[in-house]
């Protein structure tokens, strides 16, 4: 194991190198670029024996990865924002075909206005794509998830493409200490991809990405949904086996922090979870019964896990670095549905923040907890809070 002081993007590249994909096809876009730059270095210096394809667009980046995956080779791609949307057509394409492609997405705002900084509008846009979506909190988790992601995606019970999301700049461009595991350990943990029913081979020629008319189509989709929902178990399983081998665990679908007796709970994803950890300590020290959820997976959505943690909360806040225009934050909508179905009736609040790279300050997190506490105490307050706005509405 080597300790390195590297950025989130570097950590992704290190993780990918350890996972030994056969082909990398990607197109540059800020703030993802460093990942593919490092990977092209690794391909050049031979430390990664992979073919690097300089594709001419993101649509082709994922299309090429599909070609790679269709013959049973391991594929990696990475993108962000406009690039993710430019390849949008191919995401449900790959998931319907159940191709275990791994993609790193550097979360970034969507034009227009143009903006290269981090928010999560891009990946929230793709929630319906049939891809597993995980959001990581730091560079270490980013590296580790490159390994876990292939392990989960290629599990015969899952066979589903996997998107690993890093908050743009705040994670992708921040350097921190990362432990890089030994190649041998990873090799033992993540054996080469085994040829599956949905892959082409000379021995048993296959037709892929076929047509299923109105007579058969619905059953294909139901199967996909049922198996994706069932992947929650494999996600937990892999996180546990990973912990055994590498000594780090991430608590599967979500991590609950100080939630046991919490009266108010804040739900966060990605880097905001990190900042919130500090504040939760501060508030607990002051005697407030506050809890924090780090929601790691948005698909499959952890309905049950969430219900369990939230069951005694009086007020629940959801942090969204995105808006579904004409409604509310997307995570808020998703969480609310799970809450309603669980029969819980906490007060719910949506904290919209960090759009276009706007700083999410420690003070903002305090404001959120304060709002939740006063809501739990019975005060009525706004459902939707925009945080850190530079002027009045």
């Amino acid at each position: 194991m080597a300790r390195k002081f590297i950025s989130g993007n570097d950590a992704v590249a290190e993780g990918v190198r350890l996972a030994r994909p056969h082909v990398i096809s990607a197109y540059p876009i800020t703030p993802q670029t460093i990942v593919v730059e490092r990977l092209s270095d690794f391909c050049e210096d031979g430390s990664l024996k992979a073919i690097y394809m300089h594709v001419e667009s993101e649509h082709s980046a994922l299309a090429a990865a599909m070609g790679v995956s269709s013959v049973g080779a391991r594929a990696f791609t990475a993108t962000s924002s406009q690039g993710l949307l430019y390849m949008a057509e191919n995401l449900p394409y790959a998931s319907g075909a159940r191709m275990p492609i791994v993609m790193m997405n550097a979360n970034r705002a969507l034009a227009t206005p143009w903006n290269i900084y981090g928010d999560q509008m891009d990946s929230m846009f793709l929630l319906n794509a049939g891809w597993i979506q995980v959001y990581v909190e730091d560079a270490q988790e980013a590296l580790d998830m490159m390994i876990q992601s292939y392990k989960i995606a290629e599990d015969p019970r899952v066979m589903t493409p996997f998107m690993v999301n890093l908050d743009g700049f705040v994670l992708t461009h921040t350097y921190e200490v990362v432990d890089v595991p030994e190649q041998e350990l990873v090799d033992a943990y993540l054996p080469p991809l085994k040829l599956a029913e949905n892959m082409m081979s000379l021995e048993a020629p296959k037709s892929l990405c076929i047509t299923a008319g109105n007579n058969f189509n619905m059953e294909f989709k139901i199967k996909q949904n049922e198996e994706m929902n069932a992947s929650t178990a494999i996600i937990a399983e892999v996180d546990a086996s990973f912990a055994e081998v590498f000594g780090r665990k991430y608590h599967g679908l979500l991590e609950a922090i100080a939630c046991d007796d919490a009266e108010v709970i804040l739900i966060t994803t990605g880097s905001v979870a990190g900042t919130s950890r500090m504040i939760i300590e501060e508030y607990r020290n002051k005697g407030h019964k506050v809890g924090l959820i780090k929601l790691r997976y948005l698909r499959p959505f952890p309905t049950e896990a969430l219900a369990k943690v939230l069951k005694d909360a009086k007020a629940v806040g959801v942090v969204d670095k995105n808006i579904s225009f004409g409604y509310e934050g997307t995570i808020f909508t998703n969480v609310n549905s799970a809450i309603l179905q669980s029969g819980l009736t906490p007060k719910v609040h949506n904290f919209i923040c960090g759009l276009g790279g706007r700083d999410v300050t420690k003070e903002n997190i305090r404001e959120m907890f304060d709002a939740l506490l006063s809501s739990a105490a019975g005060d009525s307050c706004e459902k939707i809070h925009y945080m850190n706005v530079r002027c009045a509405l």
Binding site: S207, K223, E226
Partner: protein, 102 residues
């Protein structure tokens, strides 16, 4: 014979039994192109000089040359008439399908 073996298709009994992904084995024809034809190509083996042009030009590949006389796979012939049109010795006639139905 150049015709692929027909596969029997048993519909999956449960959703779980459906293929993984949008997949199906190749070389997997489960039903014939029944009744697409209005006219049927009939080879006059006497006239045929075995030039193999019809074999070459048939868009559906239904003319088989594995034996010493050509055979047409009427399960998949669409009756397009290309073979007859392209046969120099006029050894193929397009005959109204109905006459065979009777």
């Amino acid at each position: 014979m150049n015709k692929p073996k027909m596969k029997s298709f048993t519909e999956p009994k449960t959703v779980t039994d459906y293929p993984l992904g949008a997949t199906c084995p190749s070389d997997h024809i489960t039903s014939i192109n029944a009744g697409w034809r209005t006219y049927r190509p009939v080879i006059d083996q006497e006239k045929c000089v075995l030039c193999m042009r019809c074999f070459l030009v048939c868009p559906d590949g239904v003319i088989d040359k594995s034996s010493d006389r050509l055979e047409i796979d009427y399960d998949f012939c669409k009756g397009c008439g290309v073979c007859a049109y392209e046969c120099k010795p006029k050894a193929i006639k397009m005959v109204k399908e109905a006459e065979f139905n009777g």
